[in-house]
């Protein structure tokens, strides 16, 4: 018994919500301890209590058998606890190196030693397999995945005994995840403990040692063997029910179905070139590719959020005015963007306002809004997607990460779109809600909506899409029916770009 960390009976209340209601967690040195739970179960809150970001209302924390009071992030850092938070907590204006060493900058007499910082940052990034990220570039200009790497580097830059990782793999593609696991194994080999949170159960099996399951703010199981415990059992513990975690059956797309979306020769220098594909009514086209292959850029360009250098986008045969979101929206195109916090959510607004913001016209007469109708429509969706807490008046800021994602999705489900562009729609969403989202997407396509789906989980792309476009370094290297290709072939394609 060498418990590095013991948390017992942790309670944390927010106005109106008891996020943690007696959680127990024990972590041993050198192990990867996985934390499972549905969206809103309280995982992130527990982590924030552990890192001193939140003060618990009750409960005890001891480290190496010694009772401690973690009343500030500094206190936790001094105890050797480092974290990668779910919401990337970086300073966009500062450089990569500065972010990594924020709070413990190499310095002499208060003067920062920038060369040392840059050198050490490079070292750490190299160790993470990302020597290509320039240490002096401002973090705000990195893509989400790059920022995630910086977050990791920052956690590693502290001499920590315990590193907490809150959904680090959400923005990573399979190759990156493998790389992450390599790093984690290196850490545990040195006796560092890792608390690992993810909604992808296969990852738990690959990297985890023991599992603790949270449900509704309480520990429902702890010390489970990460490899031996059956998936069914884990899901039952998390959700209180058993879910068949499968993709809904595929329907036949009629070749007579009209082409709704036509993308032709779309190019943005430096991002992607010569992208062309079509989507029929009721069809789902999946974009596969590594992080940085330009999938998000393609979607945003189709949507008009970026202006294409060349090429055209047509909806129902009518060309869209390039670089105009308005034109796309008017033509019935919707985009659920990749970064929910900065691109999608109005954090201080109520859930229902976030959901109806793109369909306000429907609830307004003469510019006046019918608040009741809005709330009802929103409530219907949040119930369908199992957003917790269930009230539509709740400010989105206070929702857990996964639930925020569901709110974004609900916005576009509400809007009657002809074309729906979904960028990582299930990022951070728990297994239960995930299968519900799959069903919803299928349902939409069954009703004639043309869907373009971007996901870093190849399994998801293949499971949902009718046709797959594989991108590599901004070029389409393969377009074809999803049935004709398997996961390995896709992975080969995204990395090599050679023939199947």
């Amino acid at each position: 018994m060498n418990d590095l960390l013991m948390m017992t009976g942790i309670v944390k209340e927010f106005p109106g919500v008891r996020a943690l209601d007696g959680v127990d967690l024990d972590v041993r040195a050198g192990e990867v301890h996985c934390l499972l739970g549905q969206n809103g179960a309280g995982k992130s809150t527990l982590i924030r209590v552990l890192t001193g970001a939140h003060q618990p209302d009750a409960g005890a924390i001891s480290i190496n058998g010694e009772q401690v009071q973690l009343n500030s992030p500094t206190a936790a850092i001094q105890r050797g606890i480092a974290a990668i938070y779910q919401e990337l907590d970086l300073v966009p204006e500062l450089s990569v190196a500065e972010n990594i060493f924020l709070g413990h900058e190499p310095s002499r007499f208060g003067f920062s030693r920038r060369h040392e910082a840059t050198a050490r940052a490079r070292e750490i990034l190299q160790g993470l397999g990302h020597g290509e990220i320039p240490a002096h570039r401002s973090v705000g200009s990195l893509p989400a995945a790059g920022q995630q790497v910086v977050s990791m580097a920052r956690a590693l830059s502290r001499e920590a005994h315990l590193i907490v990782m809150d959904e680090p793999s959400a923005v990573l593609d399979p190759e990156e995840v493998a790389n992450l696991f390599r790093v984690i194994r290196g850490l545990t080999a040195r006796g560092v403990a890792v608390v690992y949170i993810s909604h992808r159960l296969e990852e738990i099996r690959q990297i985890g040692d023991r599992v603790t399951v949270l449900k509704d703010g309480a520990t429902v199981a702890t010390g489970l063997d990460a490899r031996a415990t059956p998936t069914k059992e884990l899901i039952r513990l998390m959700t209180g029910r058993s879910i068949e975690y499968v993709f809904p059956p595929r329907r036949e797309i009629l070749s007579t179905a009209p082409v709704v979306l036509e993308v032709e020769d779309l190019t943005r220098p430096g991002e992607f070139a010569g992208i062309g594909f079509t989507v029929r009514a009721g069809e789902i086209v999946g974009l596969a590719g590594l992080v940085g292959s330009g999938r998000s850029e393609v979607l945003e360009t189709v949507y008009g959020a970026r202006r294409a250098a060349t090429g055209s986008v047509r909806v129902d045969g009518v060309p869209l005015r390039p670089g105009r979101v308005q034109a796309a929206v008017k033509a019935g195109v919707g985009l659920a963007p990749e970064e929910r916090k900065s691109q999608a959510l109005l954090l201080d607004e109520a859930v229902f306002k976030n959901i109806t913001v793109s369909s306000m016209g429907r609830f307004a007469s003469g510019g006046f809004l019918n608040g009741r109708a809005e709330r009802e429509a929103a409530a219907q969706l949040t119930t369908a997607l199992d957003v917790r807490p269930a009230g539509v008046e709740y400010p989105v800021r206070n929702l857990s990460g996964g639930n925020q994602q569901k709110v974004v999705l609900a916005r576009w489900l509400l809007r009657e779109c002809r074309v729906l562009l979904l960028d990582e729609p299930t990022r951070g969403v728990d297994v239960g809600a995930r299968s519900e989202i799959y069903a919803l997407i299928r349902n939409l396509s069954a009703n004639g909506v043309a869907i373009v789906l971007v996901s870093s989980e190849v399994e998801e792309v293949l499971g949902l899409a009718d046709r797959v476009v594989v991108l590599r370094e901004g070029r389409a290297v393969h377009i074809g029916p999803a049935q004709d290709i398997d996961e390995h072939q896709v992975l080969d394609l995204v990395m090599e770009g050679s023939a199947v």
């Binding site: 106005p15 109106g16 209601d21 510019g367 006046f368």
Partner: protein, 348 residues
Amino acid sequence: MTVEDGARPPEQTASTQATVTPPAAQRSTGLMHSGVGRNLGLVVALVLLCIVGVITAGHTFATGANVLTILRLAAVIGVVSIGMTFVITGGGIDLSVGAMVALASVWATTLATQQLASDLHWIFMVTTALVVGAACGLVNGLLIAYGKVVPFIATLAMLAAARGLAEIISDRKTQIITVNSFVDFFGGSLLGVPVLVWIFLLVAAAGWVLLNRTTFGRRTFAVGGNSEAARLAGIKVQRHTVALYVLAGLCCGIAAVMLMARTTTGSSTHGQLYELDAIAAVVIGGTLLSGGRGTIVGTVFGVLIFTTLNNVFTLNNLSISAQSVAKGAIIVIAVLLQQRLAARATSQ
């Protein structure tokens, strides 16, 4: 399309309806609380001020005439502050309000305009003021939305330019209004309440409805809260931004008309430092300077607190410098009070 069809079997939802979630009823009272709580501190601050007023100058403070005096004073800056609330909620700021008031008042009282007004109808003076205000607002809005000039700088430039223009037009002379029908109408009363106060009430009510009950208001929050998200949600962010500044300019035009009626003059020195007064009222009312959160009711309270403070000071014959110090202290106390009470109300 088919969201409704998309909903899955009902039992599934029911079974996952978790226990963490408090019942809907409970939450809605919580929200009620925070709704009141948001302004509770302001109400308390205002009531405290009134109590001080009654104790120290009861015989005059608590009279109807004095209340009307306070309201009349509040009316002009109040209307400006309503416009400012929109701009700030939408993530901007407008330093040019005072200058716009001055320019509108000067333009609406030029000989030519007054001639037109006395020949035909005073409505021409009013229209001139409103158009001038709105036009200045339009320039602000275009510079900010399409020229990408930061609001602080664009409106600071407008401040300088509009006041300079007002001076040039008026040749730095105070222009006296000779159109009696104008003065009679706006200087008069309706049901015992001055027309100016009615205008303030109307503008505040219209502002409240616009901000809280219309798509325009909803978009304002969205644009101010996260303009990128608003853009991707299909809102015409730039056009909306322009509209917000035009609205603020329009409010300045209305305020100019009110000030013209009150002073029977148009002058390039009207509206000095209104930008600070208005922003202070808006911010003390609880609107976030960074945008995305705004409250008309709070702004009205903010204006009333400042004007009542002035009134109580005048009644009490405090030394002028001491007034200044006291004002600083009272502002801080009001904000601290507001915070503590709001926090308590929300946490209940």
